[in-house]
Structures are given as C-alpha cells and as structure tokens.
C-alpha cells in the first residue's frame, strides 16, 4: 500500500529509496521524493528516520535495498554497488549542524565547493551567506554564532555543494521557538528556488505538516503510509498510523445492517458512515477514526438548522481554554476513550459549555474513516522523544 500513490514512470526521476534489514537497526522502508518536493519522514525516536537519512547520504549501508537518484544508482545491496558520500553529492544538514569549529563561516561553506576554482570559493561563500541572511558574518567562527545563525551556515554549506538531494536531519530542533519559526519561513522561501528532492526528518508533526508536500510515517523502521499531510490526517491507513500521527478520536465499532442500510454500531448509537463501510462484512469489528474538525457542536439555545446527522449526547469531561481556542474533551457512557475537538473559545462560552454539563454533537458521516482493526502500537511511551 505504501507506494500505491506513486505515479507511473516515476522511476528514474527524483529520489527513490527502498531499504530493509532485520537488524541491528530494523528497517523496512520504501519511499520516493520528486525533484522540488519536500518529503518529511515522521515517527517517534527510534523509528529509523535518521538511519534512513544516513543511508541516503552514504553514511550507512543497510543489508538490503536500493537508493537511486535521477538516472544514478547510489546503492544496490544485491550488486554490492555503494557510492561514497563524496560521489553521491548530497547536501546534508546535521542535527547538531556539525560545523567545522576551526573554520570561519565563509570557510565552512567554501569547504563544500571543491567543484569550483579555489579563487572563487570565498566570494561564492559570501554570496551564500547573503542568501541565508548572514551577510557580513564571513569571519565569525561557529562558536561566535547563535544557534539560528549556525543552522543557516549549515544549510548554506549543504547547498553550496550544488547537491542532487538536500537532506535535513531535525534541522530546527536545537533552536528556540521564535528562531524556529523564522528558519522555517526562510526554508519555505528558499525552496522556491530549489528543484531537487528535499527530505526532512522530524518528530514534530506540526513542523512536518506545515513544511512538507508529503509525509512518510515510520514506525520501528517500517514505512507505514505516505501522502499529503491533509490526506494522512483525514484517512490514516491503520490505527497505528492514526496513533503515530497523534490523532484523537480512534474508537472500535461493529458493522450492522439496518433498514436504512449498513451502519456502524458504537455503544447505543448506530452511526451513518459516508463511505468505506460496505467493504466489511456485517458483524465484523473494526476501528474507526473521526478528525476533530468533523465533530460539530449542536447549539443548545435553538435546534440546529444545519447538519444533524449522527447526533450523540456526551458529558463535558474537560474544557481547556488555550487562548482563542478551547480544547473540549467529551465522554460517552460506553466508551473508555474520550471524544476530543477544538472550538473557538467565544463559541464555547456562547453555548454555555461547562465541565460536567451535557452537550449534543454531530459526528459527520463524511468524516468517519473506517479501518481494519489491528494491533495498536503497544504503549504511549513509544511516542515520547
């Protein structure tokens, strides 16, 4: 299923990665990244993200698989074909930036310009510093730069090599939040002028969905699903992906036949589901997921005129006001898992939402996504960094 969305004729264009090995770091991953596209590898720590990035760079050789970029094959385990990092021409930004501490900013960048005449390198390095908004800091040593400035030098050094692929290993994790936002915005601007595949490793889902064209979800070295962030967040391929993407509102239910057609039985309710239910036989147990945006609060003061499908009564378990948005946690009698959604704080006030009170919500039929029930990732501590 992982490569199902891959367009035909993709081979030979962009970066194509298929790597596996039983251990010592288990891997079973398959993904691609088109020229100009930004692919984010997401997953908890230990999911093999960084290892895969290192394998693309030629710093790690898994037991089986292939890595190719454009017309070049960089790695083919079965043929014993393994290009060195130097031959592959990758631009890599390391998590700790790995700037050369004894070289100033310009020389750090010039080091990656072996393909240019020596006399030109310093000048071109200065150009690069200007492009990453560091003009005038040529002579600064890495230790004299702030975290954000170091990251920019590392990015400039990676791009100064004129690489065929840009690899970013948690590039925003070592800076404060204000700097992180600014660096992310700069990366988005820089991307417009880059026509190479960009692979970003991150465990920050917000960062991944904000920056990436596509996500590839990894768990224990396996690529579970890939696709556009919005598609993944609405239709995770499995309960495991839903958990890894930190989605709330994952429940179990049963397919039942009613006079109006197939319905999803959930406690005392029979929910209408817009699509997907007919793929399962009547009586089968399955897992279903509802994006928080598809839970609609019914106005308490007057009957709702709009959508009234799948009306469910629930008790307000928790109401957290987080500035303009409030996070609402609801409990329904039969279900151990809560229903979670966000609502504008003023709307919560207007509807008189209080902890312990009862509300009616609509679970939109179009949003309900049914999945084969399978093993969930064992515990929550999988997710902690």
């Amino acid at each position: 299923m992982t490569l199902a969305e891959r367009p035909a004729g993709q081979q030979g264009e962009g970066l194509v990665v298929k790597l596996s090995q039983p251990g010592p770091i288990p891997l079973d991953a398959e993904f691609y990244c088109r020229p100009g596209e930004l692919l984010a590898l997401v997953g908890p720590s230990g999911s093999g993200k960084s290892t895969l990035l290192r394998a693309i760079a030629g710093l790690y050789a898994p037991a089986r698989g292939r890595v190719s970029c454009g017309q070049e094959t960089w790695y083919a385990a079965d043929q014993g074909h393994d290009w060195s990092p130097q031959q592959r021409r990758v631009g890599m930004v390391f998590q700790d930036y790995a700037l050369f501490p004894h070289l100033d900013a310009a020389d750090n960048i010039a080091t990656a310009m072996g393909h240019l005449p020596r006399s030109e390198r310093r000048r071109r390095a200065a150009d690069w510093l200007e492009r990453v908004n560091l003009e005038g800091l040529e002579r600064r040593l890495p230790r004299q730069l702030s975290g954000g400035q170091r990251q920019r030098v590392a990015l400039a050094r990676a791009l100064a090599r004129e690489p065929k692929v840009l690899l970013l290993d948690e590039p925003f994790s070592a800076v404060d939040q204000v700097t992180r936002r600014r660096l992310q915005r700069e990366l988005v601007q820089l991307r417009e002028r880059l026509s190479i595949p960009i692979v970003l490793v991150t465990h920050d889902l917000n960062e991944a969905s904000a920056l990436a064209d596509r996500l590839c979800v990894l768990h224990a070295g396996r690529s579970l699903q890939q696709g556009a962030p919005e598609a993944l967040f609405r239709r995770p391929a499995s309960p495991a992906v839903a958990r890894l993407l930190d989605r709330p509102n994952v429940f179990s239910g049963r397919v039942v036949a009613t006079s109006q057609g197939l319905r999803l039985s959930w406690g005392e309710w029979c929910l209408e589901v817009a699509q997907g239910l007919d793929a399962y036989p009547v009586g089968s147990h399955l897992t279903w997921y509802l994006p928080a945006s598809d839970i609609v609060l019914q106005r308490s003061d007057r009957p709702s005129r709009g959508i009234r499908e799948n009306l469910v009564t629930a008790r307000v378990d928790e109401l957290l006001v987080l500035g303009g948005q409030s996070s609402v946690t609801l409990r329904v009698p039969h279900e151990p898992q809560p229903l979670r959604f966000d609502i504008a704080t003023h709307a919560a006030r207007r509807n008189g939402l209080v902890k312990g009170g009862w509300v009616r919500v609509s679970l939109l039929a179009a949003g309900i996504h049914v999945m084969q029930a399978d093993m969930l990732p064992s515990s929550r501590d999988d997710d902690s960094p």
């Binding site: 990092p85 130097q86 004894h102 990656a112």
Partner: protein, 223 residues
C-alpha cells in the same frame, strides 16, 4: 656541566619525539575510532610502560637486545653492532618506553572529535585524506603538541631503562639523568646541582608549553 651527556639527552629526546609522531598519530586515531571491545588489549599494551618499573622494563629490553635473542641477533647481523650499550639501543628502548606518552594524548584528542564532523566533511565532498588534513589534524593539534612535549620531557628524565640497556658510556649512552647520578655518587654535588637545575627548567618549560597550548583555542567554546 657534562656537555656530552646533555647532547646525548637532547639528541635522544628529539629523535624519540620525532620518531613516535607518525606512528602515534596512526595508532591514536585507530584506537579512538575503533568500536570493538577487543581494543582494551592494544590499549593495555600501550599503557604498560606507564605502570612497569623502569628496571623491569629495562631488564626485558636488555634481554631482547642481546645478540642471542632474535631481535638483537637480527640487528647484529644487519649492522655488525650490538643494540645493548649503543645509542641505537637506548633510542629503540626510549621509543618503546614513550609509546604511552605519545599515543594517549593523541587518542584522547581524536576521541573528542564528534563523528558528525568527519561525516559532514565527506558530505561536503572532501576525500578521507583531505578530511584528515584539513579537518581532523587541525582539531587534534593540541593533543599532538602535548604528546610531543610529554615524550620530550619524559625522555630527558628517563633513568632506569637507559641505564639497564645502555650502561653509561660517555658521549654514547650516558644521558644527563645518569650523569647527575654519577656525580652524586662521586660527591660532586655542585655539578649535580647545576645539571638538576637545567633538567628542572626544561621540564617546567615543557609543561608550561603543554598547558598553554591545550588551554583555550580560538575555535574552542568558552565554558
């Protein structure tokens, strides 16, 4: 002042430091980068001269250098001279005894280099050899200077091993340290005093240089 002894000592110290430089760079780097647990064996061998009594070390070297032993025999056949009681013999002994002083500071310096730096250099297109010359070597330079200075100072002061292997032949194997001992034995405390003061001064300057160089480099972060 025993000028021939001073010259032997200086010659021995310079040649020992110079002779150990490249092997220590190679071995220190290898040991620092090795991930196998078996590296405790070569590491222990390297450190052995630190903990062995110099007379014991000298005794074994003397046996190995004699014309009946394989090493001494080969030397005898190649050069027609004996390793024992010759400058070549005390130089070889000095090279062996000083291995830990040369290797360990260099190994520590390589261990302090993050792996990412080397990988970043490769990803920047630098060959392994270029990476060594322009990234690794400048960064381990304080360790290299320490190694050279410690080896130099330690060779000047070495007594037991040199005496066992070389005896005290004037202008050939009698070093300053041995000369001091001989002068004290002969109740010439004034000469011994001057020579001791000289060794003290050289040792102090060496250590000061080591500390000065390993203190702060421009590229090192303040802590």
């Amino acid at each position: 002042m025993d000028a021939p002894a001073l010259i032997v000592s200086l010659k021995l110290a310079v040649l020992t430091s110079a002779g150990l430089l490249l092997p220590a760079l190679w071995l220190g780097r290898r040991l620092a980068q090795s991930r196998t647990r078996w590296k405790v064996l070569p590491e222990s061998l390297v450190a052995l001269p630190l903990v062995m009594p110099p007379t014991v070390m000298g005794f074994y070297l003397m046996l190995a250098f004699s014309a009946d032993a394989p090493l001494g025999g080969i030397w005898q056949r190649l050069t027609g001279t004996s390793l024992n009681f010759s400058f070549s013999g005390i130089l070889l002994a000095s090279l062996i005894v000083n291995i830990p002083f040369a290797v360990q500071p260099i190994q520590r310096a390589f261990e302090a280099l993050p792996d990412h730096l080397r990988e970043a250099a490769w990803c920047s297109g630098l060959s392994p050899w270029r990476t060594f010359l322009s990234i690794e070597l400048p960064l381990v330079m304080p360790g290299v200077v320490s190694a050279l200075a410690l080896t130099f100072a330690h060779t000047l002061g070495e007594f037991g091993v040199i005496l066992m292997v070389g005896g005290a032949i004037d202008g050939e194997t009698r070093t300053l340290a041995i000369s001091i001992y001989d002068h004290v034995q002969a109740f010439d405390e004034s000469a011994a005093g001057w020579m001791s003061a000289l060794l003290l001064a050289i040792s102090f300057i060496t250590i000061a240089v080591v500390y000065g160089l390993s203190a702060r480099h421009r590229w090192q972060a303040e802590r």
